[in-house]
């Protein structure tokens, strides 16, 4: 029923320009990418500051305030392995437009991020892997169940755990793609929300191929009930696919101008 939620992935230290901007506290490259993503229709913006072991707390607070002050309290996904930085970010986070997302917990070393999210009334992305990719869906769903119980035990609403099957690269793991899609269906059948880093699937492919793969994978995943994804919202083909799938799923009422809104 609810529209698909897109989390814009382009503010990330994996991009050299953004890494430099975080290090030098240079607002412009970060603000520019945020604006581009919002204009393209992103709902949430992911803020990947890297591990930032020395200055993570100060760095995350700087980024949260910078983006929310400029863009009307845009909702954010706080993306770092540094727990203290996530907590620091939430301290200065304005919830007017949506709860913060903790990106991410898993069933291994990052299991305690679920409690962190519960203690801070945040949404958490729960990656269904422990130390390494789940070998099959039995293992994936065991991780899912364990993280769900952990969240509920700490008082979270099930809807605030967004389960991530972990999208896998086609070039190398082609035989695992349907399994990932089946896992999404299992989350859906349990009434759970889901998300994931979609573009993993097209990693290593030529630039002109990636939007095609991302769009097809996304459409198939939405068919399985995927409720959100971490994506590049400036990929027009992908965003048009999401909007169209939302219409077909009756998540949004059709109007001739639906691609423009």
């Amino acid at each position: 029923m609810a529209k698909f939620i897109t989390i814009g992935e382009r503010i990330s230290v994996t991009a050299p320009a953004i890494r430099r901007a975080f290090e030098e506290r240079d607002p412009e490259p970060i603000l520019t990418r945020c604006e581009q993503q919002l204009k393209a229709g992103a709902n949430y913006i992911d803020v990947n500051i890297g591990p930032a072991e020395s200055d993570g707390e100060e760095r995350m607070q700087w980024a949260v305030k910078l983006l929310q002050e400029r863009f009307d309290n845009v909702p954010l996904a706080l993306d770092t392995s540094n727990m203290k930085a996530i907590e620091a970010g939430i301290q200065v986070y304005n919830r007017e437009k949506g709860k913060p997302i903790v990106n991410s917990a898993d069933a291994g070393d990052r299991f305690n991020r679920i409690e962190l999210a519960a203690n801070n009334d945040a949404i958490v992305i729960a990656l269904c892997s422990a130390n390494g990719i789940a070998s099959d869906n039995d293992e994936r769903m065991a991780h899912c169940q364990r993280m769900l119980e952990e969240g509920l035990m700490h008082g979270m609403e099930a809807e605030d755990l967004w389960f991530d099957p972990l999208f896998l690269v086609v070039k190398g793991m082609q035989d695992k793609q349907m399994e990932v899609l089946e896992a999404i269906k299992m989350f859906t059948d349990m009434g759970l929300n889901s998300t994931g880093g979609l573009s993993n699937n097209s990693n290593g492919m030529p630039k002109h191929i990636r939007p095609i793969f991302d769009s097809c994978m996304l459409a198939m995943a939405m068919m399985q009930g995927l409720t959100s994804a971490i994506v590049n919202p400036n990929d027009q083909r992908l965003m048009e696919t999401i909007k169209t799938c939302d219409i077909i799923k009756n998540n949004n009422l059709y109007a001739d101008s639906y691609l423009e809104i």
Partner: protein
């Protein structure tokens, strides 16, 4: 364990739109619950009733009750003034029936003169309804919106064929409220709102007429349209459908045989006046529970009944 009902207030809400100015101005919309679901959350602005006055006066009127109510009125302006005293009335809807080029073809200048005279005489908000001729309506709305600047009127309606013209004049240049009309077509209802918004008309200046019909005359299509529009607006937070809904009831119900067939021709149907009232009451109440925020009606007895109906459900 005691039963605790789950409240179904939505995060989204219908836009609150103000019509008219001063003490008699009204606000329609603003609710974040389904129609009359006051047990889920308070509804600040109750649905309203506008009284339809034809620019032909009582010409063609078959209802003794309506004629009796306006007894002594010598002009349309007199009628508009009198309509303000109708129990349950909140606005006056001036219907330019005689502007139709295929009928009397009343001139735009004459329409403007009448609109000005009515606006000078009444304090309630004014709605202006056209003659259903696309081109003539655009001309009337343009000229009347200009002449009544500052009165915050609602023009009915901008349609797919003339939304640019009506939206740009009434909505943008003269700062009036615009009704976006579609005929039981939810996709077009949304599309018109998108187009008006792309034109620059603020969302808070737009109301929707998503269709109208008399009970028994394809009303189920209107009913499902109203349901789907409210569901999209509230449950799916669809900003392009969060405009309050205005439904002309009387132009439909007074045109069907139940309200028109003389008693000598249909004696088994009973009193003509009663039939007309019942058609209005049935249709208006069904529109209101479907989600109309304002209904346009004629008969004083029907208006009073629907007004009590609204108050008792609030």
């Amino acid at each position: 364990m005691a039963f605790t009902p789950k409240k179904q207030a939505f995060n989204a809400k219908i836009n609150a739109v103000t019509l008219g100015t001063g003490d008699k101005s009204i606000v329609i919309g603003g609710e974040n619950v389904l129609p009359f679901y006051t047990f889920d959350a308070p509804i600040a602005n109750k649905p309203r009733i506008a009284v339809e006055i034809s620019d032909k006066g009582l010409e063609g009127c078959v209802s003794d009750g309506i004629k009796a109510f306006y007894a002594g009125c010598e002009s349309v302006v007199d009628m508009a003034v009198k309509a303000q005293s109708m129990e349950g009335a909140s606005a006056i809807c001036l219907h330019f029936e005689s502007a139709d080029p295929n009928g009397e073809n009343k001139s735009v200048e004459d329409c403007v003169a009448l609109a000005k005279a009515v606006a000078d005489a009444v304090e309630m908000p004014i709605l202006v309804m056209g003659c259903k001729n696309i081109e003539k309506d655009a001309q009337i709305f343009n000229a009347v919106s200009d002449a009544l600047q500052g009165k915050n009127i609602l023009v009915l309606s901008a349609r797919e064929e003339n939304y640019k013209n009506v939206g740009a004049s009434a909505g943008l240049a003269y700062n009036q409220k615009v009704g976006a009309e579609s005929a039981v077509d939810i996709n077009l209802a949304k599309q018109l709102n998108v187009l008006l918004s792309q034109l620059g008309v603020p969302d808070a200046s737009v109301c929707m007429n998503v269709g109208s019909s008399a009970a028994g005359y394809g009303f189920e299509y209107l009913s499902s349209t109203l349901d789907r529009v409210k569901a999209a607006a509230l449950a799916q937070s669809d900003k392009q459908l969060q405009m309050p809904i205005v439904t002309p009831v009387s132009p439909e119900t007074w045109g069907v045989k139940e309200s028109m067939s003389p008693e000598e021709e249909s004696p088994e149907w009973g009193s003509l006046d009663e039939r007309g009232i019942e058609m209005e009451v049935c249709t208006a109440s069904a529109c209101l529970v479907g989600g109309s925020n304002l209904v346009i009606m004629r008969h004083p007895a029907a208006v009073a009944t629907i007004s009590k109906f609204i108050d008792s459900l609030m």
